[in-house]
């Protein structure tokens, strides 16, 4: 954080002193962008992780989305950042899914191939954690696992609509902008997603 702060200060120092207002504007814009990215990064990671079921890939797509928003769209009005960011994120998720699909097709023609290092299971993940979980934590973890599984099984557009509306808290217009579809389509996808999730997770209905 300190290194970043010094970088911002150095960058601002490059602006001539006669243009102090420009330096202030630049710093304000940078701070606003940082605050925005900090506010969305965890949710964005979870959305990507649910879609990709892979932590490292999810981190990569979130970083790509941050870089692209910062380098290309930071000059846009801040109220446009969220729909833009999630549209970029979803595009990156789709790119990864396509690459996986192509890769699996190619690899299916190579029966002699050994186990890929990336696909290899980390033994640490297989180790049993003997620490007892509190009952509430255990219940919550099980509920989250069931919810995540049910969201993963949704069609792509329903998954997007559900996560952006319900999890990220975007309104219909923002969600429509992020999904590049009409507000009516967002409502339809969201409604169907809720129906599908309810039918799978009946015990959530209290």
């Amino acid at each position: 954080m300190a290194a970043f702060a010094s970088l911002v200060t150095q960058t601002a120092d490059l602006i001539p002193s006669g243009k102090a207002h420009l330096r202030d504007t630049t710093q304000d814009a940078t701070r606003a962008l940082e605050a925005f990215l900090a506010s969305v990064e965890r949710k964005a990671f979870r959305i990507a992780q649910i879609a990709l079921r892979h932590e490292a890939d999810a981190l990569d797509v979130v970083q790509d989305a941050m870089m692209q928003l910062s380098s290309r769209y930071a000059s846009r009005p801040p109220q446009e950042w969220k729909p833009l960011f999630y549209r970029i994120l979803e595009n990156r998720v789709r790119d990864v899914q396509r690459r996986r699909s192509v890769r699996s097709r190619v690899m299916s023609y190579m029966p002699w191939r050994g186990e890929d290092e990336e696909d290899a299971v980390d033994p640490v993940d297989l180790a049993v954690d003997h620490a007892p979980l509190p009952p509430a934590q255990l219940e919550s973890d099980e509920a989250m696992a069931a919810l995540e599984q049910a969201i993963t099984e949704l069609p792509t557009r329903q998954r997007q609509a559900f996560l952006l509306r319900n999890f990220e808290g975007m309104d219909v217009a923002e969600t429509a902008a992020a999904m590049k579809c009409s507000a009516g389509s967002v409502k339809t996808h969201y409604f169907r997603a809720l129906q599908a999730l309810r039918s799978k997770l009946g015990e959530f209905r209290t």
Binding site: L33, F45, L201
Partner: protein, 134 residues
């Protein structure tokens, strides 16, 4: 905020699912949170070192215009000869006339042998007679 599956507001199901998702986002492992923070700083640093957008936007256009101008200069044919005097319009033909030593002098009558031309004309008129030198 959400509107829920009805216009009246969020249902209990929506609130429950949102709470679970929010809880999972808040409980991310430290390594993931650290990586996200580094990614954010990298994105902001990349923005800081980028060239001004004006330069970035117009530089390719300027290069394209320069290339087109260079092609025009090299390949478009000129309407005037390179030896043509841009002021008087004198061209290559005029220079040939001036340098032709066998042509009739253009700089006055004093060196013209009129007697020779009269004799040649008379000879031509009396072409029925014997040829000169025969």
């Amino acid at each position: 905020m959400m509107g829920g599956d009805t216009e009246g507001g969020d249902s209990e199901f929506e609130r429950r699912t949102r709470a679970l998702l929010m809880q999972s986002a808040e409980a991310l492992p430290g390594a993931v949170r650290s990586r996200l923070t580094r990614a954010r700083h990298a994105a902001l640093a990349a923005r800081s070192v980028r060239a001004p957008s004006f330069t970035r936007r117009w530089m390719p256009l300027g290069a394209a215009v320069a290339a087109v101008l260079a092609l025009l200069i090299v390949y478009v044919p000129h309407s005037r000869s390179p030896l043509e005097n841009p002021v008087t319009g004198a061209g290559l033909e005029d220079i040939e006339l001036l340098t032709d030593t066998d042509a009739v002098p253009l700089n006055g009558d004093q060196e013209v042998d009129y007697d020779f031309y009269e004799w040649a004309a008379a000879e031509a008129a009396g072409a029925g007679g014997p040829a000169v030198g025969s």
